[in-house]
């Protein structure tokens, strides 16, 4: 402290020029001047802000169909193959597994609310599907009930509530799935697979009914629909594509596609021979 210039000594008489001891830092501070009133230069500000606003609009535009939920989450959405890639099909499953997986989704969306998670109904208004003669019986009869609903007596002769039609908006794959699922689950062990081809036929039959639009009754079912649905039966262990439910050949499933043409349709030579009649 050899600098003699700072008498930080409070014994010094207080004169107007004295600063409280130790407050040299505060004393040498500059005062904050009043804020300036320079006008914003119009053009640079407008151009910069305008450019950024345009950029923001461009970014916002990427949001696409902003609030339209339906266009973003399409029903039956299938994942698109990214550009520049070879379409790799999903690993095939057995027909029974694939159809039942599809049916499980439909069951949990439509049937579960009345027939319950164990498909046993409630005993009074909703009948059980477990061991049901109609569910496990002729396929056309079962399909008609699902597609059109049911009123009046059921297979065991009792009368439950009215079942509303379920076929509206249902795809053949879904109908096939739900039928296969119910016939092979909840203790039902039918073991057969209702193909989407059969389901398509069922929809045709349903549309051609005499009293189309009304729920079916026991009388109509026994009169017209105690039949098996037309179409080639598929063995439960046939390998199918889990998305399209089309049969795949074991060779096509294991070997990668030989002609990787991006975006183009699968070359006919590489595709399995059509099995449908």
């Amino acid at each position: 402290m050899s600098v003699p210039s700072e008498p930080a000594d409070s014994s010094q008489p207080a004169v107007a020029t004295a600063v409280p001891p130790g407050h040299a830092v505060v004393a040498r501070e500059k005062q904050i001047p009043e804020n300036g009133n320079e006008i914003i230069s119009l053009w640079p500000t407008t151009i910069i802000c305008g450019a950024l606003l345009l950029l923001a609009g461009f970014i916002l535009d990427y949001g696409g169909d902003h609030l339209s939920y339906g266009s973003l989450f399409r029903e039956g959405y299938v994942r698109r193959t990214p550009p520049g890639s070879v379409a790799t099909p999903l690993p095939p499953k057995t027909a029974l597994e694939a159809y039942m997986a599809r049916g499980k989704k439909v069951f949990e969306g439509k049937c579960i609310t009345c027939h319950g998670p164990d498909a046993k109904g409630n005993g009074s208004t909703y009948p059980s599907l477990v061991g049901s003669a109609w569910a496990n019986g002729e396929t056309e009869r079962f399909a008609m009930i699902i597609l059109n609903g049911l009123q009046g007596k059921i297979s065991n002769g009792r009368i439950y509530g009215v079942m509303p039609p379920q076929g509206i908006g249902m795809t053949p794959e879904e109908l096939a799935g739900i039928m296969t699922y119910v016939r092979n689950y909840f203790g039902n062990t039918k073991g057969d697979v209702i193909t989407s081809e059969m389901a398509k036929a069922a929809m045709k039959i349903s549309a051609a009914r005499k009293n189309a639009g009304q729920s079916v009754t026991a009388e109509e079912l026994t009169a017209d629909h105690v039949k098996a649905l037309p179409g080639n039966p598929v063995d439960a262990t046939t390998l199918v594509d889990p998305l399209t439910l089309e049969p795949v050949q074991a060779a096509a499933a294991t070997a990668p596609a030989k002609a990787p043409v991006p975006g183009a349709a699968v070359a006919p030579a590489a595709s399995p021979a059509p099995k449908t009649p």
Binding site: A8, V19, E34, N37, E38, L72
Partner: protein, 489 residues
């Protein structure tokens, strides 16, 4: 220094030093404990960063697993260092600009101790594995009401001081500080309430969390940084802020735009309002307007001075913070271009780089500047060594530049590697490894720089500051030739 000619000026000095004296305990407490938490946070950052490129490091210690250490690093950086440095600066600036002595120093000090206790408990709970898993809110849920109560107890006095301020005009700095004081409880209550009390869909929770991070950055930390710079720039240069209307544009555009930003983190996710991420991206890009206008206004205040300004540490750090601010504005645009950069930042380190740029490159540098300005006033002594300050300054700058560029560019590289989906995911970690190593190195540099800061601040706190009246300047070797200061009895 004997230029105090009039009694009016003398009484002004008395008033200002009275304010400083009334606040010396809480401010010094906040600044020193903030510095201690900064040390903790940097150490945790080094551990977390090492584990990215060397996963076997400390892998037998569950308390040092990456998820916990990284969360502890960000949370101590925010609630330990950021908030407390902010408190210290905010209560001092508001008292000075409202020209009111603080009458509740004891209450503030108590709340400050409780804040430290709560943050410590939260950090320990976090390291013990009780974190919530939401970035920047990882402290166990019991922590946040405690933090909010402490915050209100600390800040309400500054609000009262503003209400009973002397003088009609308000300064630009006061706008930002007052706004930050009011915005924080809104952000904090909204986010914590929606996530811990009325939790909804988990995807929306992630979106709210992303919003909270952005809002905390741009509606709390950045306003405090800007308020500080708007105070220090005219104070150091003695020049007026050139354009009040430009300042007004900067302030209100921040207030209007910043609350919309944040959800760009979820671009491409099936958020039911799919426009929200793009709205967030657009708002973040628009944040360049408030940031650049404020930086331009402050820089012009500093450089409009005809005389050559003394190279004070506060000026150096403020200028560096302003550079960080401009870089942040560029990054806000560059990271949010849909179709090119936006999708690369979702799961990459560039988001972290952006946050560190805001928290350290901008906010912390402004806080360091304020600390170098405030501490001599409340301790009535001068900083000891300009070499210490130079070391702190330059190594901090090197460190933050390395982290910011490493993480921003590394994030782009990482994002591109993630987009190459035909490659195995593992290859992404190989690509990003060198950038993680750079980050580790940079955090070590930052730790090194801050050791000088900690020692220096501790010396001031212990009353070892120089007692003469020569300010410390970074270009004069005066203090080097001076005898080593002895502790003054």
């Amino acid at each position: 220094m004997s230029s105090t000619s009039s009694t009016a000026e003398l009484s002004d000095v008395t008033l200002r030093s009275g304010i400083d004296r009334s606040l010396r305990h809480p401010v010094m407490f906040f600044l020193t404990s903030a510095a201690a938490w900064l040390a903790v946070s940097i150490l945790l950052a080094i551990v977390a960063s090492v584990k990215v490129h060397w996963p076997q490091f400390m892998d037998d210690c569950e308390y040092a697993s990456y998820g916990r250490v990284f969360a502890a690093h960000t949370n101590t950086l925010i609630y330990g260092w950021g908030f407390q440095a902010g408190f210290g600066v905010l209560i001092w600036l508001m008292a000075r600009m409202s020209r009111q002595e603080c009458r509740a120093a004891g209450t503030i000090l108590t709340a400050g101790h409780v804040w430290n206790l709560v943050v410590s408990l939260g950090t320990l709970g976090l390291l013990d594995g009780r974190g919530t898993g939401m970035p920047w809110m990882e402290f166990p849920a019991f922590v946040w009401p405690g933090l909010l109560l402490c915050y209100l107890t600390i800040v309400v006095w500054s609000f009262i001081q503003f209400r009973v301020r002397k003088g009609e005009r308000t300064h630009v700095a006061q706008w930002y500080l007052l706004a930050a004081m009011i915005w924080f409880p809104w952000i904090f209550i909204t986010a914590n309430g929606l996530l811990f009390c009325a939790s909804g869909h988990p995807l929306m929770a992630a979106a709210i969390n992303a919003w909270f991070k952005s809002a905390l950055m741009f509606l709390y930390f950045i306003p405090i940084a800007l308020g500080t710079a708007y105070y220090l720039a005219p104070k150091l240069s003695g020049r007026p802020i050139p354009s009040t209307s430009l300042a007004r544009l900067g302030f209100w555009s921040l207030a209007v735009v910043a609350p919309w930003a944040g959800m760009q983190k979820l671009a491409g996710s099936p958020l039911s309002g799919v426009f929200l991420p793009y709205l967030g991206a657009a708002a973040t890009a628009l944040l360049a307007i408030p940031l650049v206008t404020a930086a331009a206004n402050i820089l012009r205040t500093i450089f409009s001075s005809e005389e050559k300004l003394p190279k004070s540490p506060a000026l150096h750090f403020t200028l560096a913070g302003l550079m960080g601010l401009l870089l942040l504005a560029v990054a806000a645009i560059a990271l949010n271009l849909p179709g090119s950069s936006l999708k690369l930042t979702q799961f990459s380190i560039s988001g972290y780089g952006f946050e560190i740029l805001a928290l350290y490159g901008c906010f912390s540098f402004m806080m360091f500047g304020a600390v170098y300005f405030i501490v001599p006033r409340i301790t009535c002594s001068e900083w000891v060594s300009s070499r210490f300050i130079n070391m702190h300054f330059f190594f901090s700058v090197y460190g933050i530049v390395a982290i910011a560029f490493g993480a921003l560019f590394g994030g782009f590289i990482q994002g591109s590697a993630q987009e190459a989906w035909l490659q195995p995911w593992e290859s992404v970690t190989d690509v990003v490894r060198p950038y993680a190593a750079v980050s580790t190195f940079a955090w070590c540099v930052i730790l090194f720089s801050n050791i000088f800061f900690f020692i220096h601040l501790a010396m001031m706190w212990m009353g070892l500051g120089r007692r003469d009246s020569n300010p410390i300047l970074l270009d004069s070797p005066a203090d080097m030739s001076a005898p080593i200061p002895q502790p003054n009895p």
